[in-house]
């Protein structure tokens, strides 16, 4: 495993039978596994062993899946390349020498390298779709509220969802079938409209991967093509033509608000992160600073633990988030970002009233070379331009491999209406 895909290799056996019996699943290391350390790619949690399973992990076990390890990731999900991990970077199995994307880089790489049949990641602003695109696999970011977040270590809790990776749309969808559905431990989960009783085998997410796009309307938001790499755009249009050939039609639509999406996303995600990551103080678990009696007061002990336990990118985001929520700046940043979020939602609603699904390149660029983007956080933030609006709007999206540019994988992102997972799975499967 030269790619450094797993932070912890550990086989966790599931039930003897079930829909995923015989399948191996890699789990992102910010999803709690009882008795198996869950580091979030951070020194802070290097030795943290959760006493409980995330809901999705219980569901994997019940479905008969075998968990094969905890995958590498950007520290606390903060990154687009998996290079901010305390445990080192992961190489891209589909494009050696390049990053696998992030933050769920290890999970995408595990499927691409055939280290696991399937994988779980989490997506706060593109963290499933970006590595899926970079590694040439399928990744689904579900509608906010479809999959339980109980046990997912929070980064931006109003934005993120756990979702599946697979080597095909149907494979990824079969994992979504297992993890989706309300959970009494996560108050934000909801029953998809129509209810579970309609959700019979015949209407499973996997069965929606039938490739039938005849009559499908695809909206292409022009704003999401602006500034994208030429080779990526070419590959994208090839994919649209492919869908047209199968009976779909496309039209250009506009999402004027997305020009503010990246700023709004980072303000919201960082603000939430500043609060979500406050609990890491070394008292109950995680990295503790110094020996007993070394620090005069708790304040010093807390800041020392956080200084030693967090990496630079995490510190940067906590500081910026704290600032954005502070008295005097709250209205200027946090509140404005919430307004922008509402605007983005509205734009998506309008666009999705004209089209069944929206399509764009998942990432405006092909995978970076390892080490290339670490120096410049802003470039990295801008690479999220096509993925973050979807999180702001709480919508489902899938990234499907669409070919290559200069030998590097390109993914197409399809966005559907809330709880319209079947729509994007169907359209995505037509690209295979």
């Amino acid at each position: 495993m030269s790619e450094n895909i797993f932070i912890t290799d550990e086989t966790i056996a599931g039930d003897d039978d079930g829909p995923l019996a015989g399948k191996t699943v890699a789990v992102k290391d910010n999803i709690s596994t009882e008795g198996v350390r869950t580091t979030c790619g951070s020194k802070m949690l290097e030795e943290y062993v959760p006493p409980y399973d995330a809901t999705v992990v219980s569901r994997l076990k019940d479905a008969g899946a075998t968990i094969v390890g905890k995958t590498n990731m950007d520290e606390f999900g903060m990154g687009t390349t998996t290079e901010t991990s305390f445990f080192g970077s992961t190489d891209n199995p589909a494009a050696p020498g390049h990053v696998p994307g992030g933050s769920s880089g290890g999970s995408a790489a595990a499927v691409a390298a055939d280290e696991a049949d399937l994988a779980l990641g989490s997506d706060t602003g593109g963290s499933i779709r970006c590595p899926a695109a970079f590694c040439g696999v399928v990744g689904i970011k579900p509608t906010y509220g479809l999959v339980s977040r109980y046990g997912l270590v929070a980064y931006g809790n109003s934005l993120e969802q756990i979702g599946p990776f697979g080597s095909s749309v149907e494979e990824a969808a079969s994992l979504l079938d297992v993890i989706a559905g309300p959970d009494e431990r996560d108050a934000t989960t909801r029953e998809p409209p129509g209810g579970a009783e309609n959700d019979t085998d015949g209407k499973s997410y996997a069965s929606a991967a039938d490739g039938d796009v005849d009559g499908l309307t695809i909206g292409v938001p022009t704003e999401l093509l602006e500034g994208a790499d030429e080779g990526v755009v070419e590959t994208f249009w090839d994919a649209i033509e492919d869908l047209e050939a199968q009976g779909a039609t496309y039209e250009e639509v506009s999402l004027p608000s997305v020009e503010h999406a990246v700023e709004a996303y980072y303000v919201i995600a960082m603000s939430e992160a500043s609060s979500n990551l406050a609990r890491f103080d070394g008292v109950r678990y995680g990295h503790a600073a110094g020996e007993k009696g070394e620090n005069d007061n708790w304040n010093e002990a807390f800041s020392q633990a956080r200084k030693e336990g967090f990496g630079d990118e995490v510190k940067r985001r906590i500081l910026l988030g704290t600032y954005a929520l502070s008295a005097g700046y709250h209205d200027k940043y946090y509140k404005k970002a919430q307004d922008a979020r509402a605007w983005v939602k509205q734009d998506f609603d309008e666009a999705l009233s004209e089209a069944d699904v929206l399509a764009s390149p998942t990432m405006p660029v092909p995978p970076f070379e390892l080490g290339e983007s670490l120096e410049d956080p802003l470039t990295m933030y801008l690479a999220d331009a096509n993925t973050v609006p979807v999180n702001l709007a709480n919508l489902p999206a899938i990234s499907v491999p669409a070919g290559e540019t200069d030998g590097l994988p390109v993914g197409v992102q399809l966005v559907g209406p809330a709880f319209g997972e079947r729509e994007i799975i169907r359209a995505g499967s037509a690209l295979e």
Partner: protein, 521 residues
């Protein structure tokens, strides 16, 4: 809404008003505020632990236990990945409080995060409510020295209790180390914020006593629980001339005055002591021409003084923002669906008119819902006066002497009812019932009938008394002679003889009558 603002600031941003109820709405203050007077202004933040079986955001028990960190789980320990789920029982309790204080309950209520670091706070933020509290603008009527008036309640909101700290080897600043116990973390709290409507420490005490009584009536609060009531009080002294003709003190005067926040008060008696101390301390400072520092002070119960917390109070920035893990909860229909019992004040009034009780008895008999319920059972079954004597005087008196509450004998109230029945039906004397049977019942946990039987307290039947009367007359010719020659006191000697023969179970009044009748023959 002010971003990240401190609610303490909101307390003073409301114009002050002293609002006695009734026609003499302003007269009381107008009289009390004179030129040259110093007026005390107090506002309260009362934290009340709500009685629910489980914590507010997880299913851990709220039972108090001596084992530290026993009732904990990933949620209340703030483990990575754990999520809060709202206990609707806590919301129900909050709605009851809202109805009792006649507050506005919004269509929808939601939660915010209050961000600050402290070792007792598992997540280093507290889930609380900010600009959409479950209760706004209520009031509570209190009675101070016979005068009734309303205290305005600006807001009351739900939040989670932090854990508790145990300083080992010293106090907060001298301890060798500090232990954290998360058993308390996540206990539902209601924070009740009053307007600065109090003008004295005794008013504060009256308010808190009334509040406790109401909360207990609602069944949402257990005063006996350690730490179930915690009070922070803001106190400032204003020059009397700042008041307008109605005795009201404007916002400018209040903002200009330095105020201290007194923390660590845990009972209504403690509040009265702490605030009386603080009032005197500030008035003395002003009289001596010194400036009262704006600061936080700690009430030291054992020494009976408030102590400066020393640390210069910086304006805290809690960076409030919405708790996305808890969706807004619609509560508009809860108001109609949740009913609350008759409250103490109303019940007191009704007891006075319906059962013709005096104010003291009515007040005693409505002190807790259980007492009032028990009284009504007895009054309806037997006689209101007899019931009042038995419940207010005898039962509560004996319980109080034993440091017990009516709730301690909850499962024996039927036995007490039986005892009253024995008295009502003239089976035993009131004196024996009170002094022997009731006391034995409480001390030995025996039922009244067996005590009466064992001690032979049953009233003797008439034949037996009659023969004792005859015997006494026959055996004491001297006393009979004295009586017949006009010495009425001789009858008492004869009564004593009869009582002796009947082992004290005859009624002395009856014996007296029987003796006279026999002697007249």
């Amino acid at each position: 809404m002010c971003d990240g603002g401190d609610w303490q600031m909101a307390v003073v941003q409301i114009p002050l008003r002293f609002t006695p109820v009734g026609s003499n709405r302003h007269s009381m203050t107008a009289q009390t505020v004179q030129q040259g007077d110093l007026v005390t202004v107090i506002g309260l933040e009362v934290h009340v632990q709500l009685e629910t079986d489980t914590k507010i955001f997880c299913r851990c028990s709220t039972e108090q236990t001596d084992d530290p960190n026993e009732n904990v789980c990933p949620v209340c320990l703030g483990l990575p990945g754990a999520l809060p789920v709202l206990n609707e029982g806590a919301v129900e309790a909050a709605v009851k409080i809202g109805k009792a204080i006649d507050a506005e309950i919004p269509e929808e209520t939601r939660f915010h995060r209050k961000n600050y670091y402290y070792p007792d706070l598992p997540k280093n933020f507290q889930i609380t409510q900010y600009d959409e509290p479950i209760c706004q603008e209520g009031e509570l009527e209190i009675s101070v020295e016979g005068e009734r008036r309303d205290v305005r309640i600006e807001r009351a909101h739900l939040e989670e209790d932090p854990g508790s700290l145990q300083h080992v080897g010293g106090s907060i600043d001298t301890a060798d180390y500090t232990l954290v116990d998360y058993n308390r973390a996540g206990t539902p709290l209601m924070e009740i914020v009053t307007a600065p409507d109090f003008r004295s420490a005794s008013e504060v005490r009256a308010f808190l006593a009334e509040l406790e009584e109401v909360l207990e009536y609602l069944g949402v609060f257990d005063a006996g629980r350690d730490g179930s009531l915690r009070i922070d009080a803001n106190l400032s002294i204003i020059e009397g001339e700042e008041a307008d003709e109605n005795g009201e003190i404007g916002i400018d005067a209040l903002e200009a005055a330095n105020r201290t926040e007194v923390k660590n008060i845990s009972s209504h008696k403690g509040a009265e002591k702490a605030l009386a101390y603080e009032e005197t301390r500030q008035k003395n400072a002003i009289k001596r021409g010194r400036v009262v520092e704006q600061e936080t002070r700690h009430w030291d119960e054992s020494r009976g003084i408030t102590v400066s917390m020393r640390s210069k109070e910086e304006e805290k920035d809690y960076r409030y923002f919405e708790e996305a893990d808890l969706p807004p909860l619609r509560v508009s229909h809860w108001k109609d669906e949740i009913s609350i019992p008759e409250l103490p004040t109303a019940r007191r009034e009704r007891f006075r008119s319906e059962y013709d009780l005096n104010e003291e008895a009515a007040s005693k008999l409505t002190s807790t819902k259980q007492v009032a319920d028990f009284y009504e059972t007895i009054a309806d079954e037997f006689d209101p006066d007899l019931a009042a004597t038995w419940v207010a005087d005898n039962l509560l008196g004996e319980l109080n002497y034993r440091d017990m509450e009516i709730t301690d004998i909850e499962d024996r109230l039927e036995e007490v009812t039986r005892l009253v029945e024995l008295v009502a039906e003239d089976e035993i004397t009131a004196k024996n019932a009170r002094e022997t049977v009731l006391r034995d019942m409480l001390d030995d946990e025996q039922d009244p009938d067996s005590i009466v039987e064992e001690a032979g307290l049953g009233k003797t039947d008439d034949d037996e008394v009659q023969s004792a009367v005859v015997e006494a007359i026959e055996e004491n010719p001297d006393a009979v002679e004295d009586y017949e020659s006009g010495d009425d006191g001789a009858i008492n000697f004869l009564v004593g003889q009869v009582m002796q023969k009947t082992g004290g179970s005859a009624d002395p009044g009856d014996v007296n009558q029987l003796l006279r009748a026999e002697l007249e023959k």
